[in-house]
């Protein structure tokens, strides 16, 4: 009995040691991946910040309206630093997932390949979001200036509607790109967009018919009798 107990104990210990010996290199591999991730992430971040500084990326973002847009959303950091940080975490997570993969747990068996498969969609979604924000700011600003110069009342409201229209459209595109609730996004977007157009049509047709008529008449009359000042 005592021998059997002893044998069982030794066997269990041996097994544990064997597993430990087998696991140790994987653990070391994971730690190495983490350390490498930290180093590479830091390097990529440093490199990007330097490059952005050399090409005056901050000035470009300011010009394109990205910095003011983010500032309005409460993000006060320079965009080059934000991108630097983001790239650090992307690189680090990439290595961390490799480390987790190296542990060879059954639960995380296909984690890396799944992440790699999803990565192009994430990159595309980020690009779409960036482009969308830039486009929203650009068109919003253009509409605001044009409306003010045409002395349209409610110029800011129109510009904001255009800006937010582009932002919402971009948001829907990003979610579709990421495959998140695709059907709901498409249906929701169609309902909201269609609803707005229908509401505006009904509002103009029923409530604002007289106002629209008067505005058009006023505009046509004004163009005929406007001042004769030539500017050039």
């Amino acid at each position: 009995m005592s021998e059997m107990w002893q044998e069982a104990m030794v066997e269990a210990f041996r097994e544990m040691m064997r597993r430990g010996v087998l696991f140790l290199p994987r653990l070391m591999a994971m730690v190495t991946f983490l350390l490498l991730g930290l180093a590479m992430g830091w390097l990529v971040k440093l490199l990007l910040v330097r490059i952005f500084s050399a090409v005056r990326f901050e000035a470009l973002c300011e010009r394109m309206g990205l910095t003011p847009a983010l500032a309005k959303a409460g993000v006060k950091q320079p965009i080059s630093h934000l991108i630097g940080r983001l790239s650090f975490w992307i690189v680090f997570l990439f290595f961390a997932f490799m480390g987790v993969d190296a542990l060879d747990f059954p639960a995380t068996a296909n984690l890396m390949s799944a992440i790699l498969g999803f990565l192009p969609d994430v990159v595309a979604a980020i690009l779409v979001a960036l482009f969308g924000i830039l486009l929203a700011n650009f068109t919003g600003e253009a509409v605001l200036i044009a409306a003010v110069n045409a002395q349209v009342q409610g110029a800011r409201l129109i510009a904001n509607m255009v800006r937010w229209g582009v932002v919402i459209f971009t948001g829907a595109m990003v979610l579709t790109q990421l495959g998140i609730a695709k059907e709901i996004v498409v249906a929701g977007f169609s309902i909201i967009f269609g609803g707005i157009v229908l509401a505006m049509a009904i509002a103009l047709g029923l409530g604002g018919r007289t106002i629209a008529k008067e505005a058009l008449e006023r505009r046509l009359r004004r163009e005929k009798t406007d001042d004769e000042l030539t500017h050039i």
Partner: protein, 434 residues
């Protein structure tokens, strides 16, 4: 002169000239008419030009060139019929071969009132160079008020006085050309030190030397510069390059296509954009320049201004106030803090007491120039956001002078020019150290 380049640009047009006038190899004067659907005016314009040539330049060798950019109303045929065999004539189509329409041509269309006007001028310069013409006079076919002495006034300074560029000066209504008088002319004067009126269109005179210069400089025709209509930079470039500039007093200008108030923001972007654009190129020239001098003039002195038609000042002040309310976040980026503070106080005044001081206006224009240079926002947005401020200054000019003597507007414009000159160190400092 870069012979190969000139041949590439001018060859298609030159071939058309050679086909129509094989015996013409060298002339003293090239009389050029750009045209586009001007059948209603071209006959009288052409007859007046011929009468003028007969009076003052009968002994000079002359070629008349009509660059038509695709008229559908028989304009070239009218030109051919009127000229007949009186003088050598070539009708060319600048866009048909070799030279292609600029993608921004549409952008410039409503400002100059004629598509492909730039290509027409470029053709004139190429032919001037080929024929070694001493002078090239361009007359707009849309101007009804062309007089017989116009050709002489535009050509004589070049042929006899050594002028390179003769700019037109017209008798105008009291507040006509307010953008030119309040912004373009004072800015040009303070930058390059020449007191030119910067009026555009109607007629110009060029020396062969200047025509060659315009022709061979790519920076005038390509890339960013291609956005600007030719009339907005002809004077600026001639003055900045140090060419001998004259002004010809041509009397009144009555034109079929007239820049209307509706297009003010687009016109402003064109005209002011061109001035700011060339500020970057000619930085070395204007930074060193201080003070200003008058340029020689020819023609009968222009009488006091003609009374203006109705001007809606209230609408202009309203435009300024709306700009102040809605464009403030953009102006905050563009204007220096002290300029912005000055502009903000203007909004507190009643409509009748509304005044936009000249010094503040000059400072505003300079701040916009620096912001344009620094590209703080998209350049077209920047230029168009100047419109309400310009309307404010114009409204102020009208309110300041409406009860004054006939010359009071001219005096106020002169004071504006002096304010621009006095504030030039402010511009130089901000431009260098911003």
């Amino acid at each position: 002169m870069n012979a190969s380049r000139e041949s590439v640009m001018g060859e298609p047009v030159w071939e058309q000239v050679q086909q129509q006038c094989p015996d013409v190899h060298k002339v003293d004067l090239l009389v050029a008419l750009p045209s586009f659907n001007q059948s209603s005016t071209i006959e009288s314009v052409m007859k007046t030009i011929l009468a003028g040539l007969n009076v003052s330049l009968a002994h000079s060798s002359i070629l008349i060139v009509n660059a038509d950019v695709g008229s559908q109303d028989g304009t070239p045929e009218i030109v051919k019929r009127v000229v007949g065999s009186l003088l050598p004539l070539a009708v060319v189509q600048p866009l048909t071969e070799g030279i292609s329409a600029n993608p921004f041509a549409l952008n410039r269309l409503s400002y100059s009132g004629m598509p492909a006007r730039e290509e027409a001028f470029r053709s004139f310069f190429a032919i001037t160079e080929r024929l070694q013409a001493k002078a090239c006079v361009v007359i707009d076919a849309s101007v009804r008020s062309v007089a017989t002495d116009w050709i002489d006034l535009l050509a004589q300074p070049v042929l006899e006085e050594g002028a390179d560029y003769v700019a037109p000066v017209f008798r105008r209504q009291r507040y006509e050309g307010s953008l030119t008088n309040n912004l373009i002319a004072p800015l040009t004067r303070s930058l390059y030190g020449k007191r030119v009126a910067c009026q555009i269109g109607g007629g110009y005179g060029f020396s062969g030397r200047l025509a060659s210069f315009y022709l061979e400089k790519d920076f005038l025709w390509e890339k960013d510069a291609a956005r600007f209509a030719i009339d907005s930079w002809l004077t600026t470039v001639a003055v900045a390059e140090g060419y001998q500039v004259w002004q010809a007093r041509l009397g009144s200008k009555t034109q079929d296509t007239k820049a209307s108030a509706v297009d003010v923001s687009m016109m402003l972007a064109q005209a002011v954009g061109a001035s700011y654009h060339y500020m970057e190129r000619y930085q070395d020239v204007w930074e060193k320049q201080s003070g200003s001098s008058a340029v020689p003039e020819i023609g009968k002195p222009i009488d006091a201004e003609v009374e203006s038609g109705p001007i809606n000042v209230e609408r202009m002040v309203k435009g300024f106030r709306q700009g102040l309310r809605d464009l403030l976040p953009i102006w905050e980026i563009i204007l220096a803090p002290e300029t912005l503070a000055g502009v903000l106080t203007l909004g507190l005044r009643d409509d009748e007491d509304f005044r936009f001081p000249l010094t503040l206006w000059a400072q505003t224009v300079y701040d916009f120039a620096v912001a344009y240079h620094e590209k703080v926002i998209h350049r077209e947005h920047l230029l168009k956001s100047l419109t309400p401020l310009y309307l404010g200054r114009t409204a102020s000019l009208v309110l300041e002078t409406k009860d004054g003597s006939p010359d009071v507007v001219r005096q106020t414009v002169e004071q504006g020019c002096q304010a621009f000159e006095a504030l030039k160190p402010y511009l130089v400092e901000r431009w260098r150290f911003q």
